[in-house]
């Protein structure tokens, strides 16, 4: 009993000592900072590079018929791919949990998460994000049977990601200002550098699709011609918008006469505002880089827990049903042969004849495009 008492005394005086230390004015602040530093120190410890995940060997749950789960990080918005994911859930009985966001944000998260990421798949709106994630070594090569579902050029050269559906770059024009598009609009992107287009054009240079398009232009025309084109376009002082839908809205209102966008935004405006909406799409006939197909793509993470389910999902997206969904509901181009696009869309083959040679991977070099745009003062 006596011992306990003295021990208590010790304890109390230990506390009292700490108290005294705390209560000296100059100590208190350091104590607070010290606690903060403690938390941060553990952060520094955590900075150690994550362990390598061996290829091919999945974690627990792989192939396990019990785990009916799939985690997707999607850069495509819920309104577009939500229904097809639901369909997949219902048909295959797999519970899919999706994190929706912007492609750049999702890629950034994956880069930060590294090998600890809870995601199985990364579904990106454009190749840039997939390229960055791939460059960080986070993606696993896809099995051959999946890669063979689409034409070769829609598969990355490392085989780590594959295209799902395509959007065509197009020119949206104001019907009042341009009554005869075939005559009044140039046949090629380079036509827009004509001073006649000064102040009548709109683009969104920070948009992922635009960046992918310019990357494609660099691949087709080469660095110097692309640079010149950009400089001359800049000289025409195009209006800078944040997104494709803003451009379409502006064109429809008559604020600008033409804009460089993806083809499918128009239909949403038509659905809401009716046939009277004053804009229409014009697909550049030259087949040049102005009508590039932007593909959305999927890659599987090396650290995926539900690998089989992930592959199942990719197969589903590339199946007839999946591709038909993209054709019918979102008005995109299916990449799998034998699926009919919706009426009114020029067929894939007609569009980017020249772009046929471009590898998907080449479209992923967004950094180079950004540098070029930066140096020309088009973006900050």
């Amino acid at each position: 009993m006596n011992l306990t008492k003295s021990a208590l005394h010790q304890g109390t005086s230990g506390v009292a000592w700490i108290e005294r230390v705390i209560n000296r004015r100059r100590n208190r602040g350091w104590l607070i900072i010290g606690m903060g530093v403690l938390i941060l120190a553990s952060g520094l410890v955590a900075c150690q590079p994550a362990a390598e995940v061996t290829e091919g060997v999945g974690k627990a749950g792989e192939g396990d018929p019990e785990s009916k789960r799939l985690v997707i990080y999607s850069g495509r918005s819920e309104s577009l791919v939500g229904p097809i994911i639901e369909q997949f859930e219902q048909e295959r009985g797999i519970e899919v949990e999706v994190r929706f966001g912007g492609t750049a944000e999702m890629a950034g998260v994956l880069l930060e998460e590294g090998a600890e990421s809870p995601a199985d798949l990364f579904y990106a709106q454009d190749p840039g994000g997939l390229g960055a994630v791939q460059a960080a070594g986070l993606l696993a090569p896809l099995p051959a049977e999946i890669r063979e579902l689409v034409p070769d050029r829609f598969v990355s050269d490392s085989g780590e990601w594959v295209g799902i559906s395509g959007r065509a770059r197009t020119v949206v024009y104001n019907t009042k200002a341009i009554s005869k598009p075939e005559e009044q609009l140039p046949g090629d992107l380079s036509g827009f550098t004509d001073p006649a287009w000064h102040g009548r054009l709109g683009w969104a240079p920070t948009n992922g699709s635009f960046l992918a398009m310019v990357t494609g232009i660099r691949a087709i025309w080469g660095e110097e011609k692309t640079r010149n084109w950009l400089a001359e376009m800049q000289a025409n002082e195009p209006a800078v918008y944040e997104s494709n839908s803003a451009i379409v809205a502006a064109v429809g209102a008559g604020e600008i006469d033409v804009g460089l966008v993806n083809h499918y935004y128009l239909y949403r405006f038509l659905a809401e505002e009716g046939e009277g909406f004053g804009a229409r799409n014009y697909f550049l006939p030259g087949g040049g880089p102005g009508s590039l197909i932007m593909v959305s793509g999927v890659g599987q993470l090396k650290s995926a827990e539900n690998q089989e389910n992930g592959l199942e999902f990719i197969r589903f997206l590339l199946s007839k049903d999946g591709q038909q969904y993209f054709a019918d509901e979102t008005f995109e181009y299916p990449l799998v042969a034998g699926v009919t696009t919706v009426a009114g869309l020029p067929p894939l083959a007609e569009l980017d004849k020249q772009a046929v040679e471009i590898e998907l991977s080449q479209l992923a070099d967004v950094a180079g495009t950004q540098e070029m745009l930066l140096s020309l003062g088009i973006i900050e």
């Binding site: 304890g11 109390t12 506390v15 880069l111 930060e112 920070t206 038509l270």
Partner: protein, 619 residues
């Protein structure tokens, strides 16, 4: 003449009184002999022995203890002892909580420092380029302009609704504060559709006035207008609170001295409102720094554009470096605010039992006042509301127009489909409000009651993180979350922690204002009456700061309802909020689908706002 030699009269004997001689020289009193001999004082021996005990550095270092107690019992003893000590020494608890919050706050700058290591010369070159300087200049210009504009709008509104007899002022209060609820990019979008060169306004005016094209709304004018209308509620709420706490005696004294009502306002009232105005202005300025959605939609490049472009090219390191620059900008602004705030203390000298203030009579100014209030409300709330309703009307079933490509699912979202996101929104926002207020309390108490360099630094860092775009905070938490606490990663607690970091300046501002108004002698009185610090907090401090506390919680609730990047990135999988619904649909130009979630956001936010306003004006 001789004076008699009279000796000093002896003072009357007082019981227990020590005679003069001994007291006369304090040196004698100080002799330990006298005091040490009194049994009442602890003998020096005892003092020495407690000294010995207190100086043992480690508890477990005494051989005696180790040899007689097993490690298990020893541990239990220490823990029990600590708990008892903690209960009795709750200022330790205060320091510990402040330390926890400090750690959280330091996470983001630490992440930025770690990430930006690889950025290198390229980043520095960009940083020092004239174009970056131009963008920075534009940012500061916008921040200053918006702050001035918001102040010019908010202060009169606060005065009108809180201190005058404006008709319907309760309703006006709610409506004036509502724009806080709307996401900035939504308002920007609607304003563009209304006021762009070929927007709705132009279409309306064309037949009337023949105006072919409105002057460009994009760039500075648009950014200035939209941001002012979104941020003025921040100043409005803080100033309104301060007006309610004003002591009417001050103004009465001024009137007594011959100052007219207008002079009283300028020379007495306004200087007293200055700290509240500055607090709100600070929030506005930092908000402009961090805003991305609205300014980019309005085609005005601010510094966040530079940061975001680096995220777009997946250069996380450069993005982190530029974010650090933003933090430095914020710290500079904070420093300037501190300088202008000065060292004034705002605790009331009396015990807070002042009279109710009488509402000033507007008289012939009622009509102009109503016009002003109505105009601002129409612009800030009415226009966005009209835009949303218009989208709803366009998406109404039956109103759908087909096109030759078939229909697209741009119809309205079903209300039942919105129930789940609404529930998640409310839950997350309420929890965020509670958590943030709780965690801000130790810092606010430290800042107000025990000001020092460290609490000042903590407060500065907390505010500086407010200037960062949400994505930066989110990525910081991803980094630390996945490496330190993977089990908590992408769970509600971690998301709440990130919310706390995002919103803590709002809480600190509100708490600081109310705590500062409360005289510290109230808490000391409680302690002199035998209440331990926690009990003092519970029985005295909390009831008295409750109005300010709930106002702060409301502000956080409203801001959290529309929060986006942190929610997108850190929420548990399947967590779906109304803000996300709005964003995803607007991004894809599904305006009708975006309208209902936005309206629901508005309605749900207005309920607590209305309730608190009613309670405020009733008390």
């Amino acid at each position: 003449m001789r004076l008699k030699n009279e000796p000093y009269p002896r003072p009357a004997e007082v019981k227990g009184y020590v005679p003069t001689k001994k007291l006369a020289s304090t040196k004698k009193l100080a002799s330990t002999k006298k005091l040490a001999s009194t049994k009442k004082l602890a003998s020096t021996k005892k003092l020495a022995s407690t000294k010995k005990l207190a100086s043992t550095k480690k508890l477990a270092s005494t051989d005696q203890a180790e040899s007689s107690l097993g490690p298990g019992r020893w541990l239990r003893l220490i823990i029990g002892d600590w708990l008892a000590a903690l209960a009795g020494r709750s200022h330790l608890l205060l320091v510990a909580m402040a330390g926890l919050v400090a750690g959280l706050i330091l996470l983001v700058p630490l992440y930025l420092l770690l990430r930006s290591i690889g950025a290198g010369r390229e980043a520095v070159a960009t940083l020092l380029s004239p174009r970056t300087a131009l963008v920075m200049g534009n940012t500061i210009l916008l921040a200053v302009a918006v702050t001035i504009g918001a102040t010019a709008v908010a202060v009169p509104l606060a005065w009108l609704t809180a201190a005058t007899d404006l008709p319907g002022r309760r309703m006006w209060t709610v409506m004036v504060a509502m724009p806080l609820v709307l996401p900035s990019y939504v308002v920007a979008f609607i304003f563009i559709s209304m006021l762009s060169p070929k927007g709705v306004m132009q279409q309306l005016l064309e037949p009337l006035v023949g105006l072919e094209r409105l002057p460009s709304f994009y760039g500075f004018p648009g950014a200035f207008l939209v941001l002012t209308l979104i941020t003025y509620p921040l100043i409005f709420l803080t100033v309104r609170g301060a007006i309610q706490r004003l002591d009417p005696a001050l103004e009465e004294a001024a009137r007594n001295l011959g100052l007219g009502p207008r002079q009283v306002f300028w020379r007495v009232t306004l200087p007293h409102l200055r700290p509240a105005i500055l607090a709100g202005a600070l929030l506005v300025m930092l908000y402009v720094l961090r805003d991305f959605g609205a300014v980019t939609t309005l085609q005005y490049n601010t510094f966040t554009r530079i940061i975001y472009n680096r995220y777009l090219s997946y250069r996380l390191d450069m993005a982190a470096l530029f974010a650090l620059v933003l933090v430095i900008m914020a710290l500079i602004i904070l420093y300037l605010e501190q300088r202008s705030r000065g060292r004034a203390r705002y605790a009331r000298l009396s015990s807070g039992c002042s009279r109710r203030r009488e509402a000033a009579r507007l008289g012939k100014w009622t009509a102009p006042a109503l016009a002003f209030t109505g105009a601002i409300t129409t612009l800030a709330l009415g226009l966005p509301l009209a835009g949303l309703l218009y989208w709803v009307w366009r998406g109404w079933p039956g109103h759908q127009v087909g096109n030759d490509l078939g229909t697209i699912k741009n119809n309205l979202m079903s209300l039942s489909g919105l129930l789940e996101p609404a529930w998640y929104s409310i839950t997350a926002s309420t929890l965020a409000a509670v958590a943030t207020i709780l965690l801000a309390l130790p810092i606010a108490i430290l800042v107000v009651r025990r000001p020092g360099r460290m609490s000042w630094l903590l407060e500065r860092l907390a505010y500086a993180s407010y200037a960062l775009p949400g994505i930066v905070v989110a990525l910081a938490f991803v980094f630390f979350g996945i490496h330190i606490l993977p089990s908590l990663y992408q769970t509600l607690p971690m998301m709440l922690a990130a919310y706390v970091i995002l919103f803590i300046p709002l809480a600190i501002g509100a708490l600081r204002a109310t705590l500062g108004q409360m005289s510290p002698s109230l808490e000391e009185a409680g302690r002199s009456l035998g209440q331990q610090p926690l009990a003092v907090l519970r029985r005295i401090t909390l009831p008295l700061i409750w109005p300010g506390l709930t106002a702060g919680a409301l502000l956080i609730f409203l801001t959290a309802m529309k929060e986006l990047p942190v929610t997108l990135i850190l929420s548990p999988l399947g967590f779906n909020t109304l803000a996300e619904q709005v964003w995803t649909n607007i991004g894809e130009a599904f305006f009708a689908r975006a309208a209902l979630p936005a309206l629901l956001l508005l309605v749900l936010s207005s309920i607590p706002l209305a309730w608190l306003t009613v309670r405020d004006t009733q008390s």
